[in-house]
Amino acid sequence: MTAAMPGFRLVTPRSLAEALAARAADPLARFLAGGTDLLPAMARGLVEPETLIDIGMIAELAGIAVDGDRLRIGAATTLARLQADALVARHAPVLASAAATVAGPQHRTAATVGGNLCLDTRCVFYNQSQWWRRANGFCLKREGTVCHVAPTGTRCHAAFSGDLAPAAMVLDASVEIAGPGGRRIAKLCELYRDDGAAPLCLGDEELLVALHVPAASGWIADYAKSRVRGAIDFPLAGVAVALRRSGDTLAGLRVALTGTGSRPFRLAGTDAEIGHGVDDAALERLDKLVQKQVSPMRSTMTPAHYRRRVAAALTRRLVRRLFAEAAQPPMRGGGATAPQSEMKP
């Protein structure tokens, strides 16, 4: 049964310092960005914060700007803004194309970059009502001791299901994090760990402030998502690819995946393809790499083996397509696959 929204206090700080202070003052507080994931989770009793700290009014978390040789995207930037922003279109169109695949337009009006990067992991045994989870003996991710996906194991296999992370990873993006100890910058890949119950390497009192995307001249990138329906659904598998082409060979190749395990990750071993062309053998090698490194489990209605296969299939298809497009002169207007240009503030 869906419970009435539990009681909580809403505070609306105007500065980052105030927000961090509010968080430090209340161990049961949570930051609230777009709320599209947190509020339904609260209605299902998955999260029970006493205080919600609305970070929507903090200027420092907003805005998209070129800052030196990087693009800085405030964590509270909405996905709708990301889709429509001219700077993103010019410098990091793959982020816009990934954003466009998230849920539906109403979600994207509210949902934020930071929220999507920090999205809670999902599982059919977890994203259920309190009644349901109690009837099932709860689960390792919350209130229980067993992961129903792999009952003999010791860890939670809920799947990370954000679409932006892989797109940002292939751009070699970093995140700016603020906490009681000040600011730190981390590679986006380092934000995640392979544990569905605690998927983020982020301190309780830390807050994502911005995404930094470095200039990447000559790279071309895109994102492909597998889902049963054409909208609303979370990814069964999502693949981002960035590549650089030099003549008939690859000069650079980055692949990142989401939806196929408890964390989004950069595919290892793609450098071996540098200096080669993209032929059937190369695609077959990539296919094997993907199938080996993804770790989908029984956390969705759709079987895990499909998510593994389709992740590989999307990778093959995207690499093939981008390699072909990289041979063409750059398109005007900067579509999703247009090469990234130099940062020019």
């Binding site: 049964m1 869906t2 419970a3 009435a4 009681g7 539906g104 059919v124 045994f125 994203n127 259920q128 009502s129 009644w131 349901w132 109690r134 009837a135 099932n136 129903h148 597998s226 049963v228 329906r229 054409g230 909208a231 609303i232 659904d233 979370f234 209605m301 759709t302 079987p303 083996h305 499909y306 296969r309 389709v310 299939a313 999307l314 093959r316 298809r317």
Partner: protein, 775 residues
């Protein structure tokens, strides 16, 4: 009366008469009804799939401040159910719980938070019993029976044989058998379930506002379960946000709301969550269809043998009817002389299934049309040719005793074959693309109602008053399908007046005549005929008054465009208002009552259960589906659908198109993405994320052709339009996929994982064959 050159109310693309309310937000659905004094009702649901109830301790809940009432199974010892012969469900469980989510207790409190806290304070103790989540497990030897009297957990077996099936197979050129599995699906109407109950303690009377498709059934079950005379109950159906069969049966929350209201001596609103709505689902059961067909060289079906097993869920509900329909609707679409049917409805520890759009026919039709297609291919015949080789010639009586008076299937086939450019396209196959087709049919109302009272099957009252307005009173539930609109059109057509002059009041038992409700596509045909009858009676009164004023013979007076005149006469005609004044002058406001009853001859064969599947008018449909299959991801895209539906005379072509599009599209959901699934009896997809109702993105254009095989008994020749084309979609899609990639899928839904799996399997087989060939 439809021959003159006046404006006609029927055949018009008339927007819904209650459309303005819907597009402005003014339409009030049950949850929207203002009741500031209403308590909030919440239901405690069983966490166990099958268990003996040891104790339901509500003391702490009752003691919680703000709690006005707590009810349990102890508060109602009466069963309820849609079929008088199979009522075995209690509003709140007694003795045993039989599925996870079954209501055990309920609370009414001052607000939601208090009600939920009280629910949390109820101690429910039970002793677990073995639980069965598949029909096979429940039927296995030694399984614990869910219900006394059903030792093998078989609620009903049906064995029907018509004609010489053995001889039919012997005469066939080709005999094939295949087993098809269709996942359980649910209605997923967008409006969650809700009910508002108000108990008048002073008078001992109840008023219930609810989301029902058949308020009459709710009325009967309220009286039974509350032990209150029917005369002390009033049931009102406000706007309803979709039904599709889910709300045909009385549902537990409706009775629970009433029990709570009486216990609290006030008003209680029960609004179910989406999850609870899914648990209270009464959907199309998981079904296994084993089908064997014999086919002659020319495509004639010489015999059919079909075994159906339905996982019915924990209670009887509509089960007997569903399993009978599945057999009966093997008939009346094609001319097949020899048909054997064996059906099994099985109790399992899952939420009870029931009626869903295309009740009973859908999964069997899927199997039939798929196997027909496969056999056509094997015999080198075109799929259209095979259907044409088996057409019925109406009028006729089928082997199981159904009468078919009108059948436009031949024209449906012609129309979609042309519209889809079938012949040209099938000659030019493109990799990964395919075209498939299938046919389907449905009843225009079940010929025999489940409550055999002897009363008319439908009654409509018309009231004409001093203001010149005509009020049409009906108990037929408009659930979005436009039934109120079509009734207004029928009455306006008969009376020769503007539709706008008619006001429809529907579904308030204090005002409107009893009606058997909106199920089995009965309203246009049956209630339409009752409206026709009522309007003819009113027309007679008006014509008599006009004839007196015109000093003419009533037999030659006509009314059209709201003017009464004698055709060819000198008089310019009389305005409607003038005639109304004259007609009312004698006896005041006029009320006429019209009725309709299906004659016994149409109520089916003599075999046991023979009434199910019988109707006065069968609708027919044919459709072509075009798909593109992505062989790397397994995704199936439906590019386009062409469908032709024979609905007899289309009283409102706009509505017919909308109904047919909605049916076809709902079939698409079942074919591609929809599936309830249970993990030890817990629903995995009790939400709209995992229960994948198609979004607008993957929904194709649907080209509708209306075929009008004017039926001799339908109102103005009309038959049903709202269900018949659903069942054709899934087989047409499966056949299109087979055309595209050469794989015939036996399981629904055909999800991308199944497609990839099948393609991988085929690659392995080809490699193996090649290796063998090389060796």
């Amino acid at each position: 009366m439809t021959g003159s050159a006046r404006d006609h109310a029927i055949g018009r693309r008339l927007p819904l008469i209650d459309g303005p309310e819907k597009v402005t937000g003014a339409a009030r659905y049950t949850a929207d009804i203002a009741a500031p004094d209403a308590l909030v009702g919440r239901i405690l649901r069983s966490p166990h799939a099958h268990a003996e109830i040891v104790e339901v301790d509500v003391a702490a809940a009752r003691a919680l401040p703000g709690v006005a009432a707590v009810v349990t199974g102890a508060d109602c010892d009466q069963t309820y159910g849609v079929l008088p012969i199979a009522m075995n469900e209690y509003p709140l469980a007694r003795g045993r719980v039989r599925y996870r989510g079954e209501p055990v207790a309920a609370v009414a409190a001052v607000d939601a938070a208090t009600a939920e806290r009280a629910i949390g304070l109820i101690r429910f103790t039970a002793r677990e019993l073995p639980a069965y989540f598949s029909a096979d497990a429940a039927r296995a030897p030694g399984a614990t029976p869910l219900h006394a009297g059903s030792p093998n957990n078989i609620q009903r077996e049906v064995h029907h044989e018509f004609g010489d099936v053995t001889a039919g197979f012997a005469a066939a050129k080709l005999v094939r058998e295949a087993t098809y599995r269709c996942a359980e699906v649910t209605h997923a109407h967008i409006e969650p379930h809700a009910a508002l109950a108000r108990w008048d303690g002073e008078r001992g009377q109840l008023t219930l506002w609810t989301v029902s498709q058949v308020p009459y059934y709710v009325h009967l079950m309220l009286a039974r379960c509350l032990g209150v005379a029917e005369s002390r109950i009033r049931v009102v159906k406000p706007f309803v946000g979709g039904g599709f069969g889910a709300r045909t049966e009385t549902l537990n929350f409706e009775l629970v709301a009433a029990l709570l209201a009486r216990a609290a001596n006030g008003a209680v609103k029960v609004e179910l969550s989406r999850e609870e709505t899914a648990l209270t689902h009464r959907g199309r059961p998981e079904t296994e269809v084993r089908l064997k067909l014999g086919m002659a060289e020319n495509g004639r079906v010489t015999a059919a043998a079909c075994e159906v097993v339905q996982r019915g869920g924990a209670y009887a509900g509509y089960g007997i009817v569903t399993v009978l329909y599945a057999g009966a609707l093997l008939h009346a679409i094609y001319d097949i002389a020899a048909v054997r049917y064996d059906g099994y409805r099985v109790y399992t520890n899952t939420p009870p299934c029931g009626a869903m759009r295309g009740h009973g026919t859908v999964n069997v039709r899927h199997a039939f049309e798929c196997l027909m297609d496969e056999m056509a291919e094997a015999l080198g015949l075109d799929p259209f040719a095979v259907r044409r080789a088996n057409l019925l010639a109406a009028p006729c009586t089928t082997p199981n005793g159904a009468i078919v008076n009108s059948c436009g299937l031949a024209e449906c086939l012609d129309r979609v074959e042309r519209a889809s450019a079938w012949r040209e396209r099938r000659r030019q196959p493109a990799p990964g693309r395919g075209l498939g087709m299938a046919c389907s049919h449905y009843v225009s109302g079940a010929a025999k109602p489940v409550h055999w009272t002897g009363e008319p099957h439908a009654v409509v009252n018309l009231k004409l008053d001093f203001d010149g307005s005509v009020t049409l009173l009906t108990g037929a539930a408009d659930i979005g399908q436009g039934s109120s609109t079509v009734l207004a059109q029928v009455a306006a057509e008969v009376l020769g007046i503007a539709v706008e002059r008619i006001r429809v009041i529907a579904n308030d038992s204090a005002v409107t005549p009893k009606d058997n409700g909106s199920y089995s596509s009965r309203v246009t045909f049956m209630v339409g005929n009752a409206a026709l009858d009522a309007a003819q009676k009113l027309r007679r009164r008006l014509i008599e008054a006009a004839a007196r004023l015109l000093d003419a013979d009533p037999a030659i007076v006509e009314c059209g465009d709201e003017v009464f005149r004698v055709p060819g006469g000198q008089h310019e005609g009389l305005a409607f208002d003038a005639v109304v004044r004259a007609a009312l002058g004698e006896a005041g406001p006029i009320t006429t009552s019209g009725s309709f009853t299906v004659p016994v001859a149409y109520q089916g064969g003599k075999q046991r259960g023979g009434a199910v599947g019988a109707t006065m008018g069968y609708s027919y449909a044919a459709q072509v589906v075009e798909v593109a299959v992505d062989q790397e991801t397994g995704a199936i895209a439906v590019e386009r659908v062409w469908v032709a539906h024979d609905c007899g005379r289309a009283l409102n072509p706009l509505s017919v198109e909308g109904q047919v599009q909605g049916s076809v599209w709902m079939g698409m959901g079942q074919a591609l993405s929809e599936e309830t699934r249970y993990e030890d009896g817990l629903p995995l997809a009790a939400n709209l994320l995992d229960y994948r109702v198609p979004t607008i993105q993957e929904s194709p254009p649907i080209d509708v052709q209306i075929v009008e095989s004017v039926d001799p008994n339908g109102p103005f020749g009309a038959k049903e339009a709202g269900e018949g084309s659903l069942a054709g979609f899934m087989p047409a899609l499966a056949n299109a996929v087979a055309d595209a990639i050469g794989v015939r899928f036996l399981e629904l839904p055909i999800t991308p994982d199944k497609v990839l799996e099948a393609l991988a399997k085929r690659r392995r087989e080809l490699r193996l064959a090649a290796a063998r060939g090389a060796a």
